[in-house]
Amino acid sequence: MTIIFIRTLILYALVIFSVRLMGKRQLGELQPSELVITILISNIATLSLEDTDIPLLQGILPVLALVCFEVLSSWISLRFPAFRKLVSGTPQIIIRNGEIDQDKLRELRFSPDDLMASLRTAGIFSVEEVQFACAETNGTVSVLRKAGKQPAEKADVCAALQDADPPRTIIADGILREQALQEEGLDRAWAEDVLRRAGLHSDEVFLMTADASRQFTIIPKEVQA
C-alpha cells in the first residue's frame, strides 16, 4: 500500500509537470497529436500506478518521452508549415458564400446533423444565416454570419470608445497581490489609502478589483455569526 501511495505521488507530480511542460496550448482545444498524447499519458500513468510489478522508471520514461516528443513536434510544426500540415492537417472550408460544400462534408465524414450541431454550438440555428464556415484542425467549426445577421457592435453606432484592459484582482480573501498592483501601475500605498477611506483593513476584504484608471470595487468579507 505504501509503495502504491508513493508511486501515486511521484506519478501525480510527473503528470502535472508533463502537462505544464506541454504548455497552455495543450489545455484548450486538442490537436490530433495532442489528443493522442493525452490518451497515452493517462493510460501509461494508470498502468504504472496499478501494477507494482512494473518498475516506476518504465512508467516515467514513456510519459516524459511522449511529452518531449510533443513539445519538439509542436516546435517543428511552428518552424515548418509542411510538417504542421502533415501532423495537424489543414482547416477545411465547408460553407462558402452561404453554400454548403457537400463533397467536402462527405470527405470529412461530417453528417448534416454534425454540421447543424456545430452551428448550434456557435449560436446559429439556421444554416441560412451562415456566410462562411470552416472545420478547424482541432475539430471545431468556425462560423462567420452573413453581414445582415451579424450582431451590431458599439463601433457600428459610432459610440465614443476607449480601449481598456479589464480590472485585476488586487485583494483576494484578505491577501494583497503586489504583482497585480504593479502591473496596473498602482502601488500598496494607493490600495491602503482606498481601504482606509472605505473603513476597512485588507484582512477584512473578500475581493477587491481595480484597473489602470484607478476604478475599483471592494467586497468586504461577510461577518460569520
Partner: protein
C-alpha cells in the same frame, strides 16, 4: 524556447539512461550468469563444496543484482531467480540429481532478464 530546450535535454537524458541501463543490466546479468555457470561446472565435476560456495557467493551478490536490474526490469522476471537461488543449496546439500537442472534453470532465467534489454524486442 525554454520548453523546447528542456524537452531536448530530457530526451537526451532519457536516451543516455536507456543506453546506460542496457549496459548496466547486461553486465550484471553476464557476471551473474558466469557465477551460475560455475555452480553448474562444480556440479558436473561432482564438487559439492565448490558448488555450495559458488551458491553462497551468488546469494550474497543477489542484492546488488536485484538493485541494478530491479530498476529496469519487471519484478516478475526477477522473482523466479530468487526462488531458484533459494532452492538450489538445499538440493546440492541433499545430493539431489535435480540440482544440476535447477542450476541450468537459474542460468536460463538470468538470460531471460538479459534478453529484456535486447533492442530487437521492440518489434
Amino acid at each position: 524556447m525554454t520548453r523546447v530546450w528542456l524537452s531536448f535535454g530530457i530526451l537526451l537524458a532519457l536516451t543516455a539512461l536507456c543506453i546506460g541501463s542496457v549496459f548496466a543490466v547486461r553486465s550484471e546479468c553476464r557476471r551473474y550468469e558466469a557465477e551460475a555457470a560455475s555452480v553448474t561446472a562444480a556440479l558436473a565435476d561432482g564438487d559439492t563444496a565448490a558448488a555450495l560456495a559458488a551458491c553462497d557467493g551468488m546469494a550474497g551478490d543477489w542484492r546488488r543484482f536485484r538493485t541494478v536490474c530491479g530498476i529496469f526490469v519487471k519484478g516478475s522476471k526477477l522473482a523466479p531467480i530468487r526462488e531458484e537461488l533459494e532452492a538450489l543449496p538445499p538440493m546440492i546439500e541433499a545430493g539431489m540429481p535435480e540440482s544440476a537442472a535447477c542450476a541450468a534453470r537459474l542460468r536460463y532465467r538470468i538470460g531471460n532478464v538479459e534478453s529484456e534489454t535486447a533492442v530487437f524486442r521492440c518489434f
